[in-house]
Symmetry: C2
Subunit: 504 residues, 2 copies
């Protein structure tokens, strides 16, 4: 009977362990606890965990050692503890998860059926509630991958994703926005485009992402110069005052999207329908009406061929129109970095150089920013047809864009000049010739190994554009790092890799 | 600089934590450790972990608290620590995972391409090496689900799964086997069939599984009476002496299958191709040549319609023939439990009652066992055509089957009479009428809540077959449990559920 008498933890008490597992909530509990034995829970079973203050879905981690948890105690991953608002000693309840009913729609899709708005809504709502495990998310993404989503399904998915999150409302009827499909390092046009367009009197409330696999996202670069983690009310106030903002997009505009993107990344599946729904749901939620989409194409960019880019463009146009966007898609050169900096602070220096009309500013970044801003101005104002680029250039070169950028930074919490890394190492050409190829992915990897984006000053300063004739010993790029250890990582990687920059 | 000086754990030292995560290996490490910061590892990043003795793939769990791990220490889930053969203080190395090259085949399949044997082999080898995360497994299963695998692909997959594991070799050229597609509680024919067939002089080395989601697997039932965890050498010795064995199948015959099945279960996807490959790979690896497949059909069984059963039967025949099996598929009644017991010991009592020719033995279990054994005898011996059932009945009723069963149990480690649970509760009919429907899934759930299979004596003793006329107050079934707490769980579930047994 002693075994039964010991099983007294049907409702274990919370104990803090300090384990961070991001969005994957976990509950740590003794394997020999009564609730596990009697309910038949196994390691990794997904269960509902309740506290007085809330409820969520978590995976069970079985603890077999007395030192970590006593019978009658349970630990939670940090995020779960936060969401359940528990402190040590609080009661937790663990119960079986009810069936995830929307999985029947995922199964239908796997069997080739078409999903309507109702089905997409059920799926997305369950995802937002955290009811899908990674395997379920992966099954949904896989079932929607390739060309298996029809245009109607992409529209339904987009609308379902918008409905699952908050939505920004604006007084103006024209709200401009831009989006880059990504995958290209040093392509930091957004702060410049927002500054120009806002200076032209157009409303452009830009929400951007932090880097997930890249050395820097727009939010990382902006964070070097100002605050980016603003709430929806603050965003609305700043945009009302200055026409624009450049803030972090982690504000619940399309919560399902963040979850899906994480799984898509680890699958490395090009799910076009999902990508289009992802972008357009965030833009719809942000209240945007006029939208420029930038698709860089290059063998080491995200979109690798002209035909892939054309198909994406087609879908963006058809779905975007259906959702009420005035939208233009630009297919741009993705064969090399646009600016010179790769990494938050180095990119911030580029952005400031362009805005300050520094003669040393990277010309390609300036020209691409003017092009995108010009297209956006033409999109919102028919009368500017054919004159958008000129208007954008005038606003940039007159200093109006810089003034606007500074005003936005001040409103977001003040401006800070970006710093410079403690350690740098120059990388020189090993032979003479012409630069014929640049591996963007490897450059990005070097910047990350050097410490970007968690050390904002770390990264790569790149000065070896395609077509340039170099002599042996000419400078190609500079690695920036905050520690000699990280600098060594980056250098070691460089030693083992061929063709980061090809000279022929 | 203090921050950098503290980052001294590029190769952390192992510390035992005692966390069990089954096959999902995990490494616990401080978020602020140098290796995480500089390599850019995040929570849940999959990395390669090396010790002096081995290497495996694990997911990172970020520890944010000093009390759990110090800087310079890392914990491992129990299984990972075992595989790496580490003791406290041993050095661990953590590095980025190289690309999983076979994922390109998974992506091809998603895009509708056909996979050949080479591609299937690469995928299965990577799965066996633990390189696929749950999301990758799910993507593979989803891409193969529905009717998306051709017969050739199922054959290629089966062969790839066989190649990934060990394989039993036998001197005899005829090796009999049976398999039940499952999902029906109290369908414990296997021990009886093996006893009859082995007594007839046919070699039948039976490997069976433990329960994963059911109240009992054949291995759980056998474990109540004898040892089942034998190694391949012992199995061969016993089969040489007694023609048969009934052991646990956890002996690396088809390691990829165990991994895939776990994910399939949580997706609840009927992947027919995968199921056929799963069954036939295990049978091929076990060296079987003559095979009876039992497909119970019923609205609460695994296979729910006659047409689903017919399609499965077709695939089993075509693929089985291609793989060289002499094979017969039987579609059987899956509308209600076959025996009376549901749960390891209760099913063992049924098995023994049939073998002992107890007049109270469940007739349906006896008849179904005779039918399956008879079909198997006819399959291996053309001369028995039309006389298999009679032969099987004679062997069973003469007591030869019981003698053989006991001999096998003794060889496997001795025979123990199954026990009886401490607590029971009778469940009576709430009205008079005819029993028109039985929910097998709910009966199984009650047996599990009562403690099966971890308490082998727990479960349900069922005595309310379809078509029986009952009066209000007649006994329908009895819940068996080793603790009053678990008995209460089962009773509480019963209270909230309608239609466990329908009386009309």
């Amino acid at each position: 009977m002693s075994e039964i008498i010991n099983k007294t933890d049907r409702r274990p008490l919370y104990k803090e362990l300090g384990i961070e597992t991001l969005q994957e909530h976990m509950i740590f509990i003794r394997k020999d606890s009564e609730v596990c034995v009697s309910e038949g829970f196994e390691a990794l079973t997904r269960v509902r965990v309740k506290s007085d203050k809330g409820s969520l879905v978590a995976s069970i981690q079985m603890v077999t050692s007395e030192s970590l948890l006593k019978i009658g105690e349970a630990g939670l991953s940090n995020g779960a503890a936060q969401m359940l608002k528990v402190k040590e000693g609080d009661l937790l309840e663990i119960s079986h998860l009810s069936d995830i009913k929307s999985l029947r729609h995922v199964r239908s899709k796997i069997y080739g059926k078409t999903l309507d708005f109702g089905a997409m809504t059920e799926i997305i709502q369950d995802i937002v509630k955290g009811r899908y495990a990674a395997v379920h998310l992966s099954a949904f993404i896989t079932a929607c991958a390739g060309d298996s989503l029809s245009t109607d399904e992409i529209i339904a998915l987009t609308r379902a994703m918008v409905d699952a999150g908050d939505r920004l409302k604006w007084k103006k009827s024209v709200i401009a926005d831009k989006h880059c499909v990504g995958g290209l390092p040093g392509n930091r046009t957004t702060p410049i485009v927002v500054a120009i367009v806002a200076a032209a009197g157009i409303t452009i409330p830009k929400t951007s992402s932090r880097a997930i696999t890249s050395p820097a996202g727009t939010a990382d670069t902006m964070r070097v110069m100002t605050q980016v983690g603003l709430d929806l009310e603050e965003i609305q106030r700043i945009v009302y005052l200055h026409n624009g903002c450049i803030v972090s997009g982690e504000n619940h505009l399309s919560p399902a999207d963040d979850t899906l993107i994480r799984v898509e990344r680890s699958l490395d599946i090009d799910s076009e329908g999902q990508m289009i729904a992802s972008v357009l749901s965030k833009k719809t939620a942000a209240g945007s009406t006029h939208l420029i989409i930038d698709i860089p194409v290059g063998s080491t960019a995200k979109v690798r061929s002209e035909s892939d880019a054309e198909r994406l463009k087609y879908y963006f146009k058809v779905v975007g129109k259906e959702l009420g966007f005035v939208l233009k898609v630009l297919i741009t050169d993705g064969s090399q970095p646009i600016g010179r900096g790769i990494g938050p602070a180095l990119e911030a220096h580029d952005v400031l150089a362009v805005l300050r009309n520094d003669p040393q500013a990277p010309g390609a970044l300036k020209e691409k920013s003017i092009q995108l801003a010009g297209e956006l101005l033409e999109l919102v104002d028919q009368e500017l047809k054919g004159k958008g680029t000129d208007a954008a250039r005038r606003i940039l070169e007159s200093g109006e864009a810089l003034d606007k950028f500074m005003a936005i930074c001040m409103a977001q919490g003040g401006f800070t000049e970006p710093g410079i890394a403690k350690y740098t190492r120059n990388i020189y050409a090993e032979k003479s010739g012409t630069i014929t190829e640049i591996d963007n992915r490897k450059l990005a990897r070097i910047a990350k190994l050097a410490g970007a984006p968690s050390d904002p000053e770390a990264g790569v300063w790149f000065d070896a554009p395609l077509g340039r004739k170099v002599h042996k010993g000419d400078l190609l790029f500079v690695i920036h790092s905050q520690s000699t250890g990280e600098l060594d990582y980056a250098l070691n990687f460089l030693k083992t890799e061929d063709h980061v920059i090809t000279i022929a």
